[in-house]
Subunit: 96 residues, 2 copies
């Protein structure tokens, strides 16, 4: 069992992740990324996939051509956990 974030931890995390939207109903965060084309979008997805496998933490995501929508939450925690924050920061670094 993974501990969910406390309210204070979550507020701090969301402040530190300005590109991510918070979905209160799911206790999840989402980010939409737009690239030049499909090739760039999928190259990004490949890097995130390697990260996800390494972290054993996997996003819910969709792709339409140059657009990638990513949602992070931790099913085993019933909502956001430190894993999501670490992964969101790593995704931001890849996307930068």
């Amino acid at each position: 069992m993974i501990e969910p974030l406390s309210e204070e931890e979550r507020a701090d995390a969301l402040d530190a992740l300005p590109d991510w939207d918070y979905d209160e109903a799911r206790d999840a965060i989402s980010r939409r990324l737009t690239f030049a084309d499909f090739s760039e979008a999928f190259a990004f997805m490949a890097r995130v996939a390697l990260l996800a496998e390494k972290m054993d933490h996997h996003p819910e995501w969709s792709n339409v051509y140059n657009r990638v929508d990513i949602t992070l939450t931790t099913h085993d925690a019933g909502g956001l956990s430190t894993r999501d924050v670490v992964m969101a920061e790593a995704i931001d670094t890849i996307a930068a």
Copy 2:
């Protein structure tokens, strides 16, 4: 401009693609694929991505862990075209 399928062509195509569901509202076809784990699901996605780039025809798709949902339609045709049928057959081959 790419020609959409005629009604007869579409009926024949759907008969030949039993693993795909037809969405009449969008004139699109969808298939859900389930793999052993994320690694297998993303390996499949990588192969489909190469195919998509080669065909210059890109799916709408989403992935959650071992599951991949794919929707095919041709925006330039306003619905299903031969491109979708060719891609669906190629995806079935990759998935087999």
